[in-house]
């Protein structure tokens, strides 16, 4: 019987100790690499953009010329297009997404059907952007041409497709927030005599508001950076047009269209545009993350 206690006193073989340390450090370095990549992305784009930043300064943001021949660049139109297309998309998909999240979090439908619908809405998020673009080119634009003064690719179809693409983000996160509202709160409201919709509008939605706002901001971040579908539908014109039926441009589609053929200062100007887009989306995403994490703490 003494053998057990003797064996317990044996030290671990050095190889095992080394393995332990190596493994821990591999994990640690991999985790830090994630933060490193994020910093690397911003730094690299910034350094590449430096020549254009030096040349154009902040005026880059307020000029709408894009002339590779004379090397004059400004991204007023793409900034305008990025913001307007995203806002129109939000305008459409926020009410619809909230409606979906309410239907799928209340007890309207049997659980089985609810689960299938949740899956279908999530599937909308999984379809590749370029497939939406393809569908938009061959189905949506011809359809819109029949019923509106639309002539070809323009702001309207791009914003419509965007609204479909960001809908699942809003509805999924809003649904999570609605489900997480304490059941006691709902019972209290119903107990006081509130109808279903009085409970939803006056009690549940306010209680879930931070999650809903977080979801909307994540959707905004996605809309701002969405590239392929928008590039295929928006028409890529650098003329500033207010009409929804006229071609426009976004920062991401400017990049998608010009990057492969750019050279010299144009590359740097495109990097500058990418930097602007990266900063906008990073800020929106960080704020959204903070709002959503606050929610999880409650």
């Amino acid at each position: 019987m003494t053998s057990i206690s003797e064996r317990r006193l044996e030290q671990r073989p050095p190889l095992e100790k080394i393995m332990d340390t190596v493994f821990l450090w591999a994990a640690r370095i991999s985790a830090l690499a994630i933060a490193g990549v994020l910093i690397w992305i911003i730094t690299l784009v910034f350094i590449q953009a430096l020549p254009a930043i030096g040349q154009f300064g902040l005026g880059f943001l307020f000029k709408s010329t894009w002339n590779p021949v004379r090397d004059e660049y400004g991204i007023l139109t793409p900034i305008y297009g990025t913001i307007v297309s995203s806002l129109i998309a939000l305008l459409i998909s926020v009410p619809i997404g909230l409606g979906v999240s309410i239907v799928l979090s209340e007890d309207y439908l049997p659980t089985q059907i609810q689960r299938i619908l949740v899956f279908l809405v999530e599937l909308l998020a999984a379809i590749p952007s370029v497939v939406y673009g393809l569908w938009g080119v061959f189905v949506l634009i011809p359809f819109l041409r029949e019923i509106t003064p639309l002539k070809g690719p323009s702001m309207l179809p791009a914003a419509l497709i965007l609204s479909v693409m960001i809908l699942p983000t809003i509805s999924a996160i809003a649904r999570d927030a609605l489900i997480n509202v304490d059941i006691g709160v709902r019972q209290a409201a119903v107990g006081l005599g509130a109808t279903r919709w009085e409970t939803i509008l006056l009690v549940i939605l306010p209680a879930a508001s931070s999650g809903i706002i977080g979801g909307i901001m994540l959707a905004l971040g996605r809309a701002l950076g969405e590239t392929m579908a928008v590039t295929m539908l928006i028409g890529n014109s650098n003329q500033l047009n207010v009409s929804l039926f006229q071609p426009s441009n976004t920062i991401s589609s400017l990049l998608a269209n010009q990057f492969a053929e750019a050279s010299g200062l144009q590359v740097s100007a495109l990097m500058y545009a990418a930097l602007v887009l990266a900063i906008i989306t990073l800020v929106v995403n960080m704020l959204a993350q903070i709002v959503v994490t606050q929610l999880q703490k409650i």
């Binding site: 590449q48 599937l123 497939v131």
Partner: protein, 297 residues
């Protein structure tokens, strides 16, 4: 006595739903609107899937998987090179992102519960929100400018950054689902930390981790913006002799390129390729649903 008291004060008929009451009407209308929105959300999905099914199936034949893209106006041809290119670049992406992602998730769930973990989780979430076009720009600057050529490597590198956050998040979730007792049992019989993680915790979480990897692969295979100016596109087969350091075709970029040309034969190929991509997404989504619905513990 109590029943008399109730009947005097209380009319049971008032408990019935009064359909003319404005509050009831308001509820009905709101339910109707919410239901309409639900239908409106599903309609685009159904229309898109239907179109893909009709257009895709009619353009698919066995030859599209093995032949090269045709020039304009020439019948036949396929996207064999794009299919192979996608497989190559997604594999490169997975080879980079799977080990790093799983190790990072292990760090988050097994080694660190503190502030650092929260920061890294935050960074992961922010990284997953970075538009893929920005990742494309980044890979262009980091790889294409350094090696002075578009390549499958640059494309794979860009895809790996897209895949990382998905893999980290799903792996961490999977590891968290493994009960603490399993770890305690392992340590209790004398296992080292890395033995516990590699031989006890990981095997228990493997199905969910594989699901995450599959989802990441599906996402990467469908992504176009990250490949547009890292891998570019070509009409030819990937060149192994040149160690893939050449423009490489991919299904996603093929859909984009052929959707914006006026040639019917190339458009048909775009639909076929889009059909393949969506089929991949559909299958992985359903498989991941089935895999995660069965809990290990």
């Amino acid at each position: 006595m109590t029943s008399e008291f109730i009947s005097e004060q209380f009319d049971p008929g008032s408990l019935k739903k009064n359909t003319k009451d404005p509050r009831t009407l308001f509820g009905l209308i709101m339910s109707g609107i919410a239901g309409t929105f639900m239908v409106m959300a599903i309609i685009p999905l159904i229309i898109i899937l239907l179109y893909l099914l009709i257009q895709g199936i009619s353009s698919i034949s066995p030859s599209v998987f093995i032949e090269l893209p045709p020039p304009p106006m020439v019948e036949g041809g396929g996207f064999g090179n794009a299919l192979l290119g996608t497989v190559i670049m997604v594999s490169i992406g997975a080879l980079i992102s799977v080990p790093i992602g799983i190790l990072a998730a292990i760090f988050l769930s097994e080694y660190s519960g503190g502030q650092i973990a929260n920061w890294i989780r935050f960074a992961t979430n922010v990284l997953s929100g970075v538009p893929s076009i920005i990742i494309g720009v980044f890979a262009f600057g980091a790889i294409v400018l350094t090696f002075k050529t578009y390549s499958a490597w640059a494309g794979g590198f860009a895809l790996s950054i897209l895949m990382l956050p998905i893999i980290i998040r799903t792996t961490e979730e999977a590891l968290k689902l493994v009960p603490q007792e399993v770890r305690q049992a392992s340590v209790g019989i004398g296992a080292n930390d890395f033995q516990t993680v590699l031989f006890v915790v990981m095997p228990a979480a493997i199905p969910a981790i594989l699901t995450g990897v599959t989802l990441a692969i599906a996402r990467a295979a469908g992504d176009t913006a990250a490949l547009l100016f890292t891998a570019l596109f070509t009409q030819f087969w990937p060149n192994w002799e040149n160690k893939l350091a050449e423009p490489t075709a991919s299904l996603a970029v093929l859909v984009y390129n052929f959707a914006i040309v006026p040639f019917k034969n190339q458009q048909a190929l775009a639909w076929a390729a889009a059909f393949i991509l969506v089929l991949l997404v559909l299958l992985t989504s359903i498989i991941s649903r089935l895999a995660t619905s069965k809990r290990q513990f």
